[in-house]
Amino acid sequence: MGTLREATIGFMALTVVLLSPRAATAQTAEKPGESKASDLPRLADGHPDLQGLWHNESGYQAALKNLRGGGGLAVALGDFHSAGVPLPFPYWSITKQIQQYREVHDPYHDPEAHCHVPGVPRETEQPSSLFPFQIIQDERYVVILYEYTHDVRIIPEDGSSHPKHYWAWDGDSRGHWEGDTLVVDVANFNGRTWLDMEANFVDENEHVVERYTMTGANTIAYSATVEDPTVFTKPWTMELELKRNPAKDQIVYYDCHEGERDVEHYPKSEGNTANPHE
């Protein structure tokens, strides 16, 4: 009993250490990771200053875990997942469409393997710490410059609406602020992107609402709610924690030009004869 109690106290002490110094010294109790709105860096227009170099701290698996725990969204899809783990994504069913993707569930077919931009929210999911992104912000725009495949998202905050007759790998992003949260509405996707390396997919009806909420000077709580009425039975949400890179870090420009020559490095699954280099 005494051991358990000590362990509990030790855990509590560790929890306090993990909080930001500002939160740890606060007089009033705050939820871990939450900081007072007055503590956030801000631009002259009063909005939180999201500028700087950031990376996904959570990792994709953590995002999946968050998604699974997100209130009964899980829908079992049996062996669709390579590891036999039921996928949390609420696909309509194992339709002919999904069957097709089962057939092409091979890294060769990943659009990223062909140097395409990853789309949204996959770009934000890039492996933890590997590929940071730079945010520059003023009162009219937020622009996100991703190291991975020099992807760029320009997000106007002028109340404008999505264009017509426009389809893009990254869709079309329009931002607005809800309190201290930057909300980005993303539509106009071309339906060519995957959500991950497991062939989870969307089509051109994908619609994403991203929320960027600074929880401290060096952390952003990111969430993306994805809906696609022709692929999923209901919207689902993934959450990531974004962390600021050390001040000395900078983007090291990344490019992808191997194209068809690189895919030979990807593992070949049985039955895939689409690789022209086989």
Binding site: Q51, E103, V104, W167, A168, Y253, G271, A274
Partner: protein, 271 residues
Amino acid sequence: MIVATAVAIATSARAKTQSSYSPPRLSDGTPDFRGIWQARVPAYLNLEGHPAEAGVRASPSIVIDPADGWIPYLPDALKQRAKNYESRATTDPAINCFQAGVPRAIFLPTPFQIFQSAGRLAIVYTDNHSYRIVLASLIPHDDGIDFFMGDSRGHWEADTLVIDVTDLGDQTWLDAAGNYHSDQLHVVERYTLLGPNTMKYEATMTDPKVYARPWTVRLLLYRARRSRARIIEDECIDGPDGVWHHVSPIDPKAVLHHDYPAELAQQGNHP
């Protein structure tokens, strides 16, 4: 991350670069270059003066130094340029959808957008979703690593933005006519606002392996004034002819070269 405001400004530099126009400024006092800009000259086809030919408008040279308008190639380099010109239909790096490099990206026939806030500046090009983050001159260049768009360091000389670009590699050309550089290329760019919607662009190229002496281009950049103007996504795919194509925004119902389910169906793997 910081484009440092130059405290000490050489008098000669001020006299040389200052225009009579007093531009709007950011809160930190630096001139406001934000907006969507584009060149209107056909220099992307050939930055030297050239007569009209199939698909190419005649144009005067944008080379202002040397005064004769010709790039001062070393003799062997001039021969290489001639070879590049002859084979340009298949050897221009842009055909492979490589990023354009500097200064070629600036005078492509597609717009670019400058983003700027106190202490930060980035340039985003339509072509190939290329971008450059302009760091402060006091941060040393990333020597030893080459990038298609180089490594950019900026500072202010009066109201002129001066960007020093190195690490450009030798994988890009200067235009579609085979004008080229080596991995020794060093570019100094000068951006000066002349009015609300006009900017002067100058770039001086130094490359001891290819040029007999430094040389300079000058052109005007114009602001896209429509309120709805914006940079649209430009993504490349390899077409069925083996040639790369700029395809976005693409109709999602269009058939790409790699229609994976269809490919597999053709091969009898489809259920």
